[in-house]
Symmetry: C3
Subunit: 325 residues, 3 copies
Amino acid sequence: MRSFKRSNFFPLKKKYDVNNLLDLLDGKIIDNNIHKNFEINDVSSLTQLRNNSIIFLEKDYNNQKIKSLNIHVITNKLSNKEYYKNITLVDNLNHNYNKLLNDLFNHDDQIGFNDEYNFVNGSHISKFSKIDNSCQIGKNCVISRGVEIGKNCIIKNNVVIKNAIIHNDVVISDNTSIGTTGFGFNFKIRGSKHLNPQVGIVIIDENVHLGANCTIDRGKIDVTLIGKNSMIDNMVHIAHNVILGKNACIAAQTGISGSVLIGDNVTIGGQVGLAGHIIIGDNVVIAAKSGVTKNIKDNSVVAGFPAIDINEWKKNIVINRRNGR
Amino acid sequence: MRSFKRSNFFPLKKKYDVNNLLDLLDGKIIDNNIHKNFEINDVSSLTQLRNNSIIFLEKDYNNQKIKSLNIHVITNKLSNKEYYKNITLVDNLNHNYNKLLNDLFNHDDQIGFNDEYNFVNGSHISKFSKIDNSCQIGKNCVISRGVEIGKNCIIKNNVVIKNAIIHNDVVISDNTSIGTTGFGFNFKIRGSKHLNPQVGIVIIDENVHLGANCTIDRGKIDVTLIGKNSMIDNMVHIAHNVILGKNACIAAQTGISGSVLIGDNVTIGGQVGLAGHIIIGDNVVIAAKSGVTKNIKDNSVVAGFPAIDINEWKKNIVINRRNGR
Amino acid sequence: MRSFKRSNFFPLKKKYDVNNLLDLLDGKIIDNNIHKNFEINDVSSLTQLRNNSIIFLEKDYNNQKIKSLNIHVITNKLSNKEYYKNITLVDNLNHNYNKLLNDLFNHDDQIGFNDEYNFVNGSHISKFSKIDNSCQIGKNCVISRGVEIGKNCIIKNNVVIKNAIIHNDVVISDNTSIGTTGFGFNFKIRGSKHLNPQVGIVIIDENVHLGANCTIDRGKIDVTLIGKNSMIDNMVHIAHNVILGKNACIAAQTGISGSVLIGDNVTIGGQVGLAGHIIIGDNVVIAAKSGVTKNIKDNSVVAGFPAIDINEWKKNIVINRRNGR
C-alpha cells in the first residue's frame, strides 16, 4: 500500500554514483568510509529502505538492513564506521539533505520543473498521469505527473492533485489541494529556498471522501496515507507523513501535524489540532476543539487542550466554574 | 425565501410511483400500509413537506399535514399505521435513505451526473443556470446546473457555485466553494459510498459578502440559508442546514456545524466553533475562539469553551491564574 | 519597501479637486475650512501621508506633516481648524469614507471594474501586470492588474494574486488567494454594499514560502507586509494591514487579525489566533492553539487563551487538574 516509484513523480535530474554525490556535499566532510561504489537513484527513510539510495541519519544505528542494501549513509553522528557499507560524516546534515535532494530530484518547489499537460474538458491533465476511464473530473482541475486515479473516482472542480496515488471510489471535493509541500524546514535558516525538499507522495485508499478546501501534504520521503473508508469534512489540513487508519471520520477545520500516526476507526470533531509525531490508537474519539499533545491509547475518548479523558475534562469545567463564583 | 425546485439542481433519474419505490427498498420490510398510489418525484423533511414526496422519519408522529398530502412515509418506528396515508416500516432507515435518494436523484457525489457548460470569459457556466446580465464573474469559476444569481453580484476568481440561489448584490470572494456536500453519514458504515445524499441547496440573500476560501455546504433536503446583509470573512465554514439570520458578522476561520439556527444581528469572532443543532438568538455576540455547545439566548455575550457569559469567563480566568500562583 | 503606486492597482475613476469632492460628501457638512484648491488623486493614512490626497481622521491632531502637504482632511472631530490646510467636519465619517473612496477608485468589490487578461499557458495574466521571465506559473491562476512578481518565483496552481507586489524567490502554493478584500466594515450598517473600500496592497518580500489554501488580505489604505524569509504553512489567514517581520515561521490554520504588527524571527504554532491591533515583539514564540489578546514583548514564549507565559500556563494546567480531583 505504501510503495511507489519516486521517479514517476520526481524525475531524476541525472544519475549519480557515490563519488559524484560526495562531490556535491557542502561544508566539512568530517569522516568518510566508502566500501563500495554504486548508482544512487533514490532516497531512503528508516521506515522504508530502498536499494541504491542515500539515507540521512541523525542518530547512530547498527542497522543490518541498511548494511544489506546499496545504501549510502550521511550522518552527523557516528560511533562505528563499520555499521554501514558506505558512510559520510558531515557537519551540516540538514543543509546537505536539501542540497543532495535538490540535486537528485525535480520537484515542484524548484524552478525549472515543468510538467506536460493535456487540456481535457476544462481541466489540465498531465501526460504522465494514469486516470481510469470511469472517473469523473470537474472543471479547472490540475492533475500532475505520476498521479494515478483508480475506478469510479469523482474529482470535483478546481481540485489540485499532485504526487498522489488515489484508489477506487474516492471523492475529492472542490478547491482541495492534494500532494502539496510539507512544512519541513530548519528553524535556524528560514525561507523558501531552505525548505526541505519533499519527495514523498500521498496515497488515498479506496472509498475515501474528502471535503472542500482541504489540504493534504505529501510525505517527505515516504507517504502521507489516508486509510480506506475515511470521511473527511471541509477545510481539514493533513500534514506530511501522517498515517491515518481505516474508517476515520474527521470534522471540519481540524489540523493534523506532521508524522502523526492514527489507528483505525477514529472519530475527530471539528477544529481539533494534533501535535506532531504523536500516536493515536484505534477507536479513539477526540471531541471538537481539542488540542492533542500526547499519544492517546486505543478506545479513549478525550477532550480539551491539552486533551485529557473527556470525563475528567467535564469535571474540571464544573469545578473551575464553581471556583469562579 | 426557502423554496426551490429540486429538479433544477438534481434531475430526477426516472419517475417512480409508490410501488416502484417499495421494490427498491433494501433489507427487511417489517410492515407496510399503502392506501394510495401516486407519483413520487421529491423528498420532504418535517421542516418542509412537499406533495408527491417521500419522507424518512426516525420517530412516530401523528402529523395531519403529512396525511393531507401525497407523502409516502418510511420509518423505523411505528406505533399507529393510520397516522399516515402510506407508510413502510423498515429495519435500516439510514441505508434506505441513501438507496432511494440515489435512485431518485442525480447529484454531484454520484458517477454519471454531468452538467453541460459554456466556457464564458474564462469561467465554466452551466447551460442550465440563470445569471443576471449585470453580474461580474471572474476567471476559473464553475457555476453549475440550476444556479440562479441575481443583480449586481460579484463572483471573483476560482469560485465554485453549485446548488445555490444567490440574490442581488452578493459578493463572493476568490477560491470559495458554495453548495458543497454536507457531511452527513452513518457513524457505523463509513466511506464515500455511504455518505447520505445531499439534495438541498444554499440560498444566499441579498447584500451578503462572503470572503475568500470559504465553504458553504448545501442543505441535506432543504436549504442552508445566509441571511441578507451578512458579512462573512475568509475561511469560514458553514455546514448543511444552517440557517443564518440577517446582518450576521462572522470573522475568519469560524466553523458552524450542521443544522445550527442563528438569529438576526449576531456577531461572531474568529476561530469560533458552534456545535451542531443548537440555536443562537438574536443580537448574540460570540467572542473569538469560543466553542459554543448549547443554545444561546437573545442579546447574550459569550466567550470561552464551553462558551459562557463573557463576564463569568473573564472572572474565571483571573481566579484560575490566582490559583496558579 | 512599503511604497506603491495606487493607480497601478486601483485606477482613478476621474480626477477630482477639493471642490468636486465636497460635492460628493453625503450627510451634513458641519464645518469646513478650505485654504487651497488642489487635485486629489490618492488617499492617505497617518502611517503614510501622500501628497494630493484625502485623509479620514477620527481624532484631532496638530500634524505639521499633514499641513505641509496637499492633503484634504475629513473628520468627525475638530478642535482647531487651523491645524490643517483644508478640513471638512462631517457627521458620518465611515459612510463618507466609503462614498469618496468608491467614487475615486475602481476596486474589485465594485461592479464595472474589469481587468484585461491574456490567457497564457493555462492561467489568466493581466495585461497590466509585470512578471519576471524567470518565474514559473502553474495552471488556473489569475494574476491581476498592477501585480509585480520578481525573479525565480514559483506560483503553483489555482492561485489568485491581486493587488500585490512579490519580490524574488517567493513560492506560493496551490489554491492560495493573495490581495483579497480586508474585512473592514461598520458594525451598525452591514452588508456587502457597505464594506469599507480596501485600496491598499500586499507586499511579499523575498524568499517567502506560502502554503496552500491561504488567504492574505490587502491593506486598507497601505500595505499588508510579509517579511523576507518567512515560511507560512497551509490555510493560514493574514488580515489587512498586518505587518509581519523577517524570518517568521507560522504553522497551519493560524489566523492573524487586522493591523497586527509582528517583529522578526517569530515562531507561531498551528491554529493560533491573534486579536486585532496588537504588537508582537521580536523572537516571540507562540505555542499552538494559543489565543493572543495583548501585546507580547520581545523574546517571550506564550501559550493558552488568553495567551500567557508558557511556564505559567503549564503550571495552571497542573493545578487546575489537581483541583479537579
